[in-house]
């Protein structure tokens, strides 16, 4: 179950990261499945280090399904960024995704959320005073 990854300094997860001021904006549109998940987290953490970003917004408007695995990947990514000193806000969760996660018993406690990117940026500014 091991996959060898040739990094070569190039992003491996193919999930675009946009820099807006001192905030990174990540838009997850592809299926964040197993092989991609670790690379996604690692690429993101390296980008945080390189850019010195103080905030991270993860936009999941494009995901119509978030299972417990993907939910954990997203929550863990926020925890990892937090350890580095960067606040994370998860934005754009669709109604059916929110309903499904809570019904499964996974409310993603401890994860900061906002309705959309604008609200997320506002929340980050409040947090960072």
């Amino acid at each position: 179950m091991t996959a060898s990854v040739t990094a070569g300094g190039k992003p491996r997860s193919a999930i675009p990261v946009l820099r807006v001021g001192d905030t990174l904006l990540v838009t997850v549109q592809i299926e964040l499945h197993d092989a991609v998940a670790d690379a996604f987290q690692e690429d993101l953490l390296v980008t945080i280090e390189k850019t010195g970003a103080r905030g991270l917004i993860i936009d999941i408007t494009g995901l119509d399904m978030v299972d417990s695995y993907v939910a954990r990947v997203l929550a863990d990514t926020g925890r990892m960024a937090r350890l580095m000193g960067t606040d994370t806000v998860l934005v754009g969760m669709r109604p059916e995704v929110a309903a499904t996660l809570v019904r499964m018993g996974y409310g993603m406690e401890g994860v900061r959320t906002a309705l959309n990117v604008d609200e997320g940026l506002g929340l980050l500014h409040t947090l960072q005073g």
Binding site: H33, D64, M65, S68, R94, R103, Y106
Partner: protein
């Protein structure tokens, strides 16, 4: 009245990417049957959890997807089979928060809450079969 099987499709779960294929097939089936966004997300997520269980706990198995009909209602039924180690304490596994593998331990208990019918049979040393069904909400425009 018995449940009629209108169509079926079997998918093998031999690698992690197969989990994605299973849930994509389930999503298409649910949409074709007129499931709304909530029911589609629920059944697709349940499929993902159960397919992942097959992969994580048994190293592989199969998913049989069926389009079913009963008294004018349409639904999706899914059979997940593996020949893995089986589940010794089914009660505890269904209560949730229980897992030996790298997951949240929500696979069985979580998917149970997302479907209308749920049945699991497991024999230690032989394997596990999980059968779940989800019905489209009754609507005059479908069926």
């Amino acid at each position: 009245m018995t449940t009629q099987v209108m169509a079926q499709r079997e998918l093998q779960i031999r690698c992690e990417d197969d989990i994605v294929l299973v849930r994509q097939a389930v999503r298409v089936m649910a949409q074709q049957l007129g499931f709304d966004a909530f029911a589609t997300a629920a059944v697709t997520t349940a499929a993902s959890e159960l397919a992942r269980n097959v992969w994580t706990h048994a190293g592989g198995g199969s998913a049989l997807l069926e389009e079913i009909r009963l008294a004018g209602r349409r639904g999706v039924r899914m059979h997940f089979r593996d020949q893995g180690p089986g589940i010794a304490d089914l009660g505890r596994a269904l209560a949730g928060g229980f897992s030996t593998a790298r997951s949240l331990g929500l696979g069985l208990s979580g998917s149970k809450r997302l479907v209308d019918e749920f049945n699991v049979e497991s024999t230690v040393g032989k394997g596990t079969v999980v059968v779940v069904a989800k019905w489209a909400r009754f609507s005059s425009t479908t069926g």
